[in-house]
Amino acid sequence: MEGRQEAGKENKPSSTSVDPQGDSSLQVEISDAVSERDKVKFTVQTKSCLPHFAQTEFSVVRQHEEFIWLHDAYVENEEYAGLIIPPAPPRPDFEASREKLQKLGEGDSSITREEFAKMKQELEAEYLAIFKKTVAMHEVFLQRLAAHPTLRRDHNFFVFLEYGQDLSVRGKNRKELLGGFLRNIVKSADEALITSMSGLKEVDDFFEHERTFLLEYHTRIRDACLRADRVMQSHKCLADDYIPMSAALSSLGTQEVNQLKTSFLKLAELFERLRKLEGRVASDEDLKLSDMLRYYMRDSQAAKDLLYRRLRALADYENANKALDKARTRNREVRTAESNQQLCCRRFERLSDSAKQGKTPWLRNPCHWAAYPARVPTSPPSSPELMDFKSRRVSSFRKNLIELAELELKHAKASTLLLRNTLVALKGEP
């Protein structure tokens, strides 16, 4: 099924608070998207006055796999180990929607033509909603990258935004997927291992607290997200139930010859309108609640990953210390042990600083930037990653919860009005 999306800012379901206007030197958006048989093509438009780019305004076409490639490139880059890498957008999945449309097409002869048309309309609206969401997810990913002072300067990012040709990034084949899957398992096993290591003491209360917090938070938000999804599904089912009800009432109305005729017809109309309202409630809950929870579930996972990397660095540092001691007692290869230990120490400190309010004022002095223009500061001067995560989260929840409440009120008021009008009409008749 073909679908085009003209993504303007106003109709984008943005459940995360990314402020693209924050730094106008690099603005990225997805200006268009086309859905073909089994892939979606996004048109990524960039506006920038930065010197790296050949033009001030340009567009490229990218597919989902290329986004994933970009994300993985960031994750694998040691330089960004101390940063929260924005979570990759989920793969566009129209499978469920397509299946439902197909089933509808195969036909259930017991439903009338009107019912069929309405159900088709519902499914098409669902398809469109999924489409809009996937565009929004991909856009938010890019916009967070563009807003991050360090991540926006990445070479791969520039290539992604500017290179006119296909990046020739094929989707991961089965082996690579499996590899990725195994890597995740290894990572969690490793994490479990290093935390249980007797010698490994968390030196910093802040991180201890953050780790406990994030572990619990991530589990609970994942739970909440799943259950919010189910609530949304139930609302959708309810809305769909009104379709056959409305149709049956309509037939009853046309059959009747007595006073019930108008009553039934009015009821049929009422349920048709209620259906639309109920449907809107479902989709608003989806956007404002489910999607937001889902995004922060992923973001909290990214934050967890950062903490893991730091812990890993700490473990390495500890090991390096031990190795150095051993080398010193044996008086063999002390040099290598020393330099290794230095390395581990620096890495660990870098990650720690980057994650929370830095202890190294040196890098934060802009004069030093000027002195080392080519060097990309690994510790962003004033955006401690974990603090950032918190403030993003709080403001996003605030915005979405307010909007959710306002929309629920709007729909409830509309339903009440509709019901009251119908009641007046019904009571007014003999």
Partner: protein, 471 residues
Amino acid sequence: MAAEREPPPLGDGKPTDFEELEDGEDLFTSTVSTLESSPSSPEPASLPAEDVSTNSNGRKPAEVVLDDDREDLFAEATEEVSLDSPEREPILSSEPSPAVTPVTPTTLIAPRMESKSISAPVIFDRSREEIEEEANGDVFDIEIGVSDPEKVGDGMNAYMAYRVTTKTSLSMFSKSEFSVKRRFSDFLGLHSKLASKYLHVGYIVPPAPEKSIVGMTKVKVGKEDSSSTEFVEKRRAALERYLQRTVKHPTLLQDPDLRQFLESSELPRAVNTQALSGAGILRMVNKAADAVNKMTIKMNESDAWFEEKQQQFENLDQQLRKLHASVEALVCHRKELSANTAAFAKSAAMLGNSEDHTALSRALSQLAEVEEKIDQLHQEQAFADFYMFSELLSDYIRLIAAVKWEAKVQQGERDFEQISKTIRKEVGRFEAKRVKDFKTVIIKYLESLVQTQQQLIKYWEAFLPEAKAIA
């Protein structure tokens, strides 16, 4: 009250002996003028006189036959009803006699009813007037309540006893307020008797609630969970609606069996009650329909009316079934929504606990509370969906099955104008009642939906400032 009346002479059962009948050859038309207040049908084209005489003469033997075979007809719903089967004969031969006066059927019932049947005709007359005076329609001063379900006995012999309370100012009852204890099989027994007396005569006898082996077994075994309490409540409500419909019927209200059911403290155990489940009636309808369709039917204008009515009821039945099925789906999904909302409320509360930003944490807890209240709301709405809407629809579907039976019987029995008139009147009454019933329930249901929305508004309005307070 009954004792005060002098029993009229009960002759050899000839219709002409009854006081309220004028002497005349045209038995049926005179009866028609006495009994029918507003005949809506044209005069019958022909009236086979020989049937009358056969009846008067052959009445007594027919009585006995009628009794047993009638029971059989209703007892074995799966039995083949063919044109030549013995079951059909009682219908053919007995039709006119009960049709003469509605009272007559009582004389054909088992002997123990004799004493009552003697006095019945006069009382019938008086209370009928009383009833017709009360209202031109369906409002009689009689109210029935079914309450206090109580488990009696243990194990598989246990049963639920319900209190049936009657409040009335009608003179046919000895007291103005009284109650008795009845069990489910008593209700089925009552229906069986009423159906056997009145169905084939053209009256729409309201169907009794469905039997449920699973539901009852759970109750018997003593399962004290919500599904068995729900089941008992559902049944109680259904029994109440059943009795209310039955007493609203002016003719059935006269019936001594009904009065005995409502009044007497002891009721003989009804046997053979498996016959009249709704499903059983449907099966019967279908078999009879097949039988009737095999007959060649002469078309005349009264046939046209019945054809039309039958078609109308067919359509109505079909549409009501569809609506009922979709309302049942609605109830089911609303229950699911309620459960899912409750689960979400819990996880939102947990998330709120985890959240270390105070204002956000509080807002999330508030959200959890709102969702919990909404879940309650959904539960109540599902309840309303069910009791108001769904049950009404299923009652009407079963009523219509009974009406269709009427129409099909008529198609075969169109010679018997009495039935025809009765049926037309019944159908007219049914239609009027249906309209009123539906409208009342629909309005109530919509009002419940409005209530729900109002509550939702309240909850979200309370939540909004909390969300805005997140700093």
